[in-house]
Symmetry: C2
Subunit: 701 residues, 2 copies
């Protein structure tokens, strides 16, 4: 609520501004209804939040002389000066009087998020403007990269580029195209002629495209109408689809010269790399990057064919993979904003209790990897109300339970999530720790202490109530004050991930739970992400690499060009493609299938932030059975490069202070730095920015 006066000194570019979060929330609303099942809308089944249609911007300037500004809005606007409410202007060009004055601009737009662009010699829209939705709040205006009048927010769209099929053949007399690998975009028909209907069947697999009756995505159009819509002889279909193959059944007399497609994508830079002695692992890494890229769009989505929705649990993993590949923070922020949505909170994120909690954990990770406190500050209020909402759901014991209307997901697995589920408590503890850190950073020590104390209390209670001395692990859930005798891996995975167990408990859990064949195995790639990470945390790198080569390698061998939503080696042929009781229901390009990016970056190359924004970081490379490897991990301002074989480790970091940690069976040497001997064959080297370090050592192999 503090007003700032801005003395202008010919600042930078004008940019489009809006109510913070509303560009993202409007984009999410549009995205959430793009899923089509056999051509029919299949909207997300949660409340879609909406932008404020009626907002007001303000800005105080101080000008030595009058100046003329150009005013453009997405929506209807009116501008007035110094609160003179009855003297409004709707002109596109306005002369501002000299001196210190406050401009207010009302903008209304009921379809797209209201946005404003003002360009003058000195007065220009940017994030120093404030905005209100008339709810007693003045917030810093939202903005991004819409830095010219023409490039307005409502016209935001992803990039496109032309792609050609790699083969064309006739199947049952109809054209069948193969685009070589999974892709996403708009089919294009060149020089369409004739009249009649054209039916298009899309397939992520060949079998799917050839199944006119059961393929998930299809299109149809009337050739005569389409000809009328051709631009420079090309008809481009309206909806983008996920596919590798297309089978086109046209009525006799409808002809075209050729078919291509416009690949639609978010421009990202591939900032990571990995290459090792195992060519299959290299292939898995590259295909993981492509899989993640296809699902990195307006937001991080679950899969490009299905659901094309923004799911918090899926996004949690994509965020982490992104830090080890594109390090694209714009899509990360957009996704975090869209997931949180607006008040009132009635249902959880995506209707799932755990997914509300993953949102906090994701925000915590965001801060760890980026150190971007501004963003945390801007959305702290929404975090606080979400936490209030969650905490109100605790039972008499103070544990978080699902309400009848909540989906308590945890995993697709054979267990009931009734009562207080231990995994949920652990996610809550992590969420409270995040809130405690945020509150501390935002100078609210009282809130920080409250969140911190609550985290500690629930953590202690969870370990105490769910730990089973006989099974030596955390039990699954507790109903009406009685912990049920069911042991699953899930709570252990998260308790290990977040470091909530003491050494004795850790060792016990790894032996008695994680590596215990009697405990139901994790079957979803979704939970395997966390399981494999935890196994790496426990030094099981070789086991994890083997698992990666067999599981992801298995998909490769079946001809996958992107990684799937689920893979069961026991399936055969077309049964690989079915899911949810639908023949081609499975998504063959699913973000969570790309987890090797994260596992390799964090546990094989071994790079991770220690303090926020990679100011300090750790490099703990592990060959995991490979002969050699090299790779790059992006950090906030630069990158870390690691190269390793049995006798050499080379490390270079562009920013921040790193600590290389490694083991050697012989005394290692390094001419660029001192090596710290930690005993038991463990060593450390401090990595300063801009210097290259070569360590000679001897691997245990």
């Amino acid at each position: 609520m503090t007003k700032q006066t801005n003395t202008q000194t010919n600042r930078q570019m004008a940019t489009w501004i809006w109510y913070p979060g509303d560009f993202e929330i409007r984009l999410h609303e549009k995205m959430s209804v793009k899923r089509l099942a056999r051509g029919v809308m299949y909207p997300a089944y949660w409340r879609l939040d909406r932008h404020y249609s009626n907002i007001k911007f303000r800005y105080t300037y101080d000008l030595p002389q009058e100046e003329t500004i150009k005013v453009v809005a997405e929506g209807t606007f009116s501008l007035y000066i110094d609160g003179k409410d009855n003297y409004r202007a709707g002109d596109a060009v306005i002369t501002l009087p000299a001196g210190c004055h406050e401009i207010m601009v009302s903008v209304f737009n009921d379809l797209e998020a209201p946005a404003l662009y003002i360009e003058g010699p000195n007065v220009k829209t940017d994030t120093s403007w404030e905005v209100t939705s008339y709810q007693n709040e003045w917030k810093q205006a939202g903005a991004w990269t819409f830095d010219s009048l023409e490039n307005s927010p409502s016209h935001f769209q992803l990039a496109v580029t032309q792609q050609e099929p790699i083969s064309k053949e006739l199947h049952e007399g109809y054209e069948l195209l193969d685009f070589g690998r999974e892709t996403f975009g708009y089919l294009r028909f060149y020089q369409l002629e004739g009249s009649g209907m054209v039916h298009i069947f899309y397939g992520e697999s060949l079998e799917e495209a050839l199944s006119a009756e059961e393929c998930y995505s299809l299109d149809r159009f009337n050739a005569a109408e389409a000809i009328g819509r051709m631009v420079e002889g090309v008809y481009t279909l309206h909806d983008a689809k996920a596919f590798r193959y297309v089978w086109i059944q046209a009525d006799p007399g409808v002809n075209w010269q050729r078919v291509s497609m416009l690949y639609e994508y978010l421009p990202v830079s591939y900032q990571s790399s990995f290459e090792c002695s195992d060519s299959k692992l290299n292939e898995i890494y590259d295909m993981s990057l492509y899989t993640l890229h296809l699902n990195t769009r307006e937001f991080f989505i679950d899969g490009i064919k299905r659901d094309r929705w923004v799911w918090s649990g899926d996004a949690y993993q994509s965020f982490l993979m992104n830090y080890y590949s594109f390090f694209d923070l714009d899509v990360t922020r957009r996704t975090l904003i869209a997931l949180r949505g607006k008040d009132p909170l009635v249902m959880h994120c995506n209707t799932i209790l755990d997914y509300s909690l993953y949102w906090f954990v994701s925000l915590y990770d965001y801060y760890q990897f980026t150190g971007d406190l501004d963003f945390i500050k801007q959305y702290y209020d929404r975090a606080a109300t979400l936490m209030d909402f969650c905490l109100r759901q605790r039972n008499a014991e103070g544990l978080l339970e699902g309400r009848p209307q909540d989906w308590v997901f945890v995993d697709w697995a054979d267990f009931e999530n009734t009562g207080a589920v231990s995994t949920i408590q652990i996610l809550l503890v992590r969420s409270l720790e995040a809130m405690s850190v945020f509150a501390g950073l935002l100078s609210d020590p009282v809130a920080s202490d409250l969140y911190g104390a609550l985290a500690e209390e629930i953590k202690e209670k969870t370990i105490r109530l769910f730990w089973d001395d006989e099974k030596k692990g955390l039990l699954h859930h507790r109903i009406e004050g009685v912990t049920q005798p069911i042991l699953t891996k899930h709570a252990s995975i998260f308790a290990l991930t977040y470091g909530y167990l003491n050494q004795e408990q850790r060792d016990s859990v790894i032996q008695n739970v994680m590596l215990n064949p009697d405990v139901a195995e994790i079957r979803t790639p979704y939970m395997r992400f966390h399981e494999l990470a935890v196994l790496c945390e426990s030094g099981q790198h070789e086991h994890v690499l083997e698992e990666m080569l067999s599981y992801w390698g298995g998909m490769l061998e079946l001809g996958a060009t992107t990684f799937w939503e689920e893979y069961d080696p026991n399936n055969s042929n077309v049964t690989h493609y079915s899911m949810y009781g639908v023949t081609y229901g499975k998504s063959l390009c699913h973000a969570w299938g790309a987890s090797p990016i994260y596992l390799i970056g964090k546990y094989i190359l071994g790079v991770m932030p220690v303090s926020a924004g990679y100011e300090t970081y750790l490099v703990q490379p592990n060959l995991g059975g490979l002969k050699h490897m090299k790779g790059t991990v992006p950090t906030k301002k630069g990158q870390v490069t690691v190269e390793m074989d049995f006798s050499k480790i080379r490390v270079e970091g562009t920013h921040g202070i790193g600590t290389l940690s490694f083991t050697s069976v012989e005394l290692p040497s390094c001419s660029e730095a001192d090596i710290k001997d930690l005993g038991l064959g463990k060593y450390e080297v401090i990595i300063e920015p801009g210097k290259s370090y070569l360590i000679r050592y001897k691997n245990k192999e």
Copy 2:
């Protein structure tokens, strides 16, 4: 959440359905930005709530044989049966299988409220369908009178009819038109020719139209463009305006044959009447009806020129006037829904604390006059959350105070509304009483008792803390536990209206406050509405009639054709038209100016409901100094007719049981019924429906 199965037996018409309240909320959003100040948007300055864009309908049918239905939606839709989520249809014609099945239809619309229309031999959309916004709620679908496929909700608009000017002259060489009286609508140009600009200046007064520089409403158009938009030789302007006069300045060479206007109005039926021995009072009554009608539109608005917004305090009075004139419950319900809006509650109704409370009081009145429990039931949840929001604002003493961000209005008067204002407490008590009654009617005795007890507690506390034994009335406000020595009429007015004072206090307040010339007089017509009503309640009918003839009669004498926002006989000439520091800022057609409708209907004709929906009612006619009068007051199902002079009273009611209450200085007689003698010259006659009663009596005159 209970599902109903509907065995179809060829039911009535299909009708468009939507999420309850969302048609109204969307309409309100559009209305709230229609105000233009000198052609520039002037949107309402509170959060505009929005319809849910993504909703789902459901309906369970049981059909002996399959049937084909036609499905139309405003928005994109998909239909599926028996929860088979993956088998969706977007076809306009669908065949439903025989037997018992559940239909679900998702509809998405981000501009207008999503709506659905299904027409089949048996299966048809109506309010037996349920709808969800995906927030764990299944609500009865909203509907109104959109009973055909073509007549869809988003196309709702008021009626129009052509009106001609009564005079045309040239002023400074430009055409000046007089439409005879205040009107509202779209100007029309016939046979427009030539090129150049046309500037139009509108005036509620002649002076305003002739003030190109200061008139509130204006239009301009390019003749060449307008000619391109002519329909059958007529160009109709896009925006409707409030005016009596228009002055049209066109560039040389622009010509037209003539100008008329399309009067835009809500079709209502004038269900009341009043005629008496004073022709000026008759004129005041008729002009009040016209004033109210102009402001009775999509919603009850404050004024047609300005603000054209929906204000809760203004609506409270319009609701009451409407019960004594058009008895149009559709516009009443639309207004109540729009005012309440949606959660989260951050600011009060129209940003004003008292206006949130008027909403409850208005809902209570709605129930009293209509007995419509269904509507109360449908919006009870929103009433309950609004009450929670208000109650959370109580101070340590349990009294309701404005927060820094709240506008505590009470009245435009010279007092501060800081701390706990007594008027606010009295409105809160009435609101709590309303909630107690609603909860009781909806079979929630626990909530009913809680609200009731709280009402009682705050009422007792208010009288105790604000009553001043010396001044013998209720003081205005209390700051930090200290009641301030300021006496105003406001709290007394409402305490009298709602019957919160004992006989001794009533008498004291009337003498020492209401009729005390040392207490600051009420100056706004807004608060005069309540003041005059209370004076009638206290038997001051003659005083009130005199007041009416002088105040409203004063406007008549100045040539008013509708009643104004404010009138001060001390003003002269053009100063009558200024307000808020703006030369023509005053609204000359303001709903609250129509209060004679209410005062005459309730206190002169003397008709009012005793039990909900006029099941029983009171007729307490009072000549108030008139020689004779007759009139009609609408009741829920019919009307009550009253005729009276010094020696006769004639009463007839079409429905319900009435009680005629009157005084006579001689023993009265009636051949149609027994007369009950209450002593002290007071008598009662029971009025049965459909019978006419003639009572011979002798008035005190």
